[in-house]
Symmetry: C2
Subunit: 333 residues, 2 copies
Amino acid sequence: MLSIALDAMGGDHAPDEIVKGAVEASARYGIEVVLVGDPEAIERHLPRSRPRPSVVPASQTIGFEESPAKAVLNKPDSSIMVGLRLVKEGKAAAFVSAGSTGAVVCAALFLLGTIEGIERPALCLIYSTPSGPSLLLDIGANADCRPEFLLQFAYLGSLYMKNVLGIPNPTVGILSNGEEAGKGNRLVRESYKLLKSSPLNFLGNVEGKDLFRGTARVVVTDGFTGNVVLKANEGFGEALFEQFAGQLKDGLKYRWAAFLLAPLLRAFKRRVDYSEYGGAPLLGVRGNVVVAHGRSRAPAIGNALRLACRMVEQGLPQALEGGGLNVSAGIGR
Amino acid sequence: MLSIALDAMGGDHAPDEIVKGAVEASARYGIEVVLVGDPEAIERHLPRSRPRPSVVPASQTIGFEESPAKAVLNKPDSSIMVGLRLVKEGKAAAFVSAGSTGAVVCAALFLLGTIEGIERPALCLIYSTPSGPSLLLDIGANADCRPEFLLQFAYLGSLYMKNVLGIPNPTVGILSNGEEAGKGNRLVRESYKLLKSSPLNFLGNVEGKDLFRGTARVVVTDGFTGNVVLKANEGFGEALFEQFAGQLKDGLKYRWAAFLLAPLLRAFKRRVDYSEYGGAPLLGVRGNVVVAHGRSRAPAIGNALRLACRMVEQGLPQALEGGGLNVSAGIGR
């Protein structure tokens, strides 16, 4: 099995929690991890015992506050660029980073390029709904989108659903502020027309509340809206959990109930905890790239590494390539 | 006390649930309601006993699928236009509708006009956070916004916080996909510059997760993003509640815990239930207007009527007028 390159310098808790996550994932899931970054900083957190993740040095680090395009051009030896070069050269099967999303997307575009018919890659979230798995994209790769981008995201999502998850003729919706045709901002209204005249199984507008009902298998949106929505849900879930858990601590009868309910509360917390998702696959580039949450600690990094392994097993990105993005046969009924 | 005009024909459950809500609110809270719409349809749902809400006839109805601007121009005798005319003529202190948001906004702009310095009104949500009340706007009046609109929303929100809730020098944030300056889509980046050079107490970008932490007292966004975010939270909360409540019904020990927890579960449901908010005030027009949720049933209509009464008691919209929107003294430290 090929190894997964991991950006040891990216994220709020780099390098310590990133290295810890790599060590735990190696031991627990047998994932072969290559840590990319400052060797001294990494070594400090590596255990002496073997087996240990290997290290590929990178002398530069890209921060969250840097302009992605400039940083990528000016820092060719940054952990993000070095890690993605390993993927490009076939030395790693995938790259995982909890660093600057913009820089990862820029560097992936620059080094790996996009698959046929795709101008911009999209970060996606795969989640479960009462009617099956759904896919929301873009959740943060492109803050400003053109209508053609949203059409391409719809193709990417549909091909993923069909070729990876085996769901024929997946339904597609566009995230909007109302269900009726004509609702939406300018981008949504123009993208709607493109989707309507495409061979995709387009349902029309879907609202935020439909996301979790599984109204559509694939929901497209621009990276700004997708990102804001997910982070708002994260915050809302946290606030609900804190309120609920806080009240449970008051009063004896609640404490007794909390004891009975412990397994349900754990399931609830899992559902609202970003670290369980692991990270978001960047679909549309010629290589496997996972963007992990900037707040990732060791367990989240472990989940991101597992997600990268799944993508390799699923045969991505080849499963999305040559899907005939320009012909209706590519999606197939 | 002046009466509140209520659109009897607007919403998914009009007119029966709307009329029922009016009757209950009259009896329970002593609110004097004027029902606007088709007299025959309204009469069918009115009780024979007195006191009963009065009726002002309107022969036309605007549907959710109609183009707002066209509908407003072509249907001068629609319940929305007739209701707002009552406000304009001083015959009602406020107007409440669960009908087409776009049509209500258009008609309010056309009939009432905006207060000084404001080009577009904004729908807002006032909610509680651990650090005090916060205000999010726009949550649906303007799908496409210019940077100046977001600046004006910030003024409206700040004046509301200061003049209505008595919070001096309220903090302002702009909803974005990252905290760092420079993050955001084009609209956010341009609005950021305007806000930065304004006399407002501008904190910078805030993320979705910050909404519920109360990082800023006033959070501005375009009506598309605000609407999608709120509806996604609504759906997320409903999904969590259903999952949790569903599991509680399984197994004897959970049922026992559910009994102990009943009050907490009710509080939880209230927190995620849109009908508790009642509706959203439309800030920035010369009159009191509340847009209720399209799915509103009688209890939600009752809450929307109460919200309208509170706005009248708070002295809106005068409290936002003459606040010197163009001079720093208007916000005042």
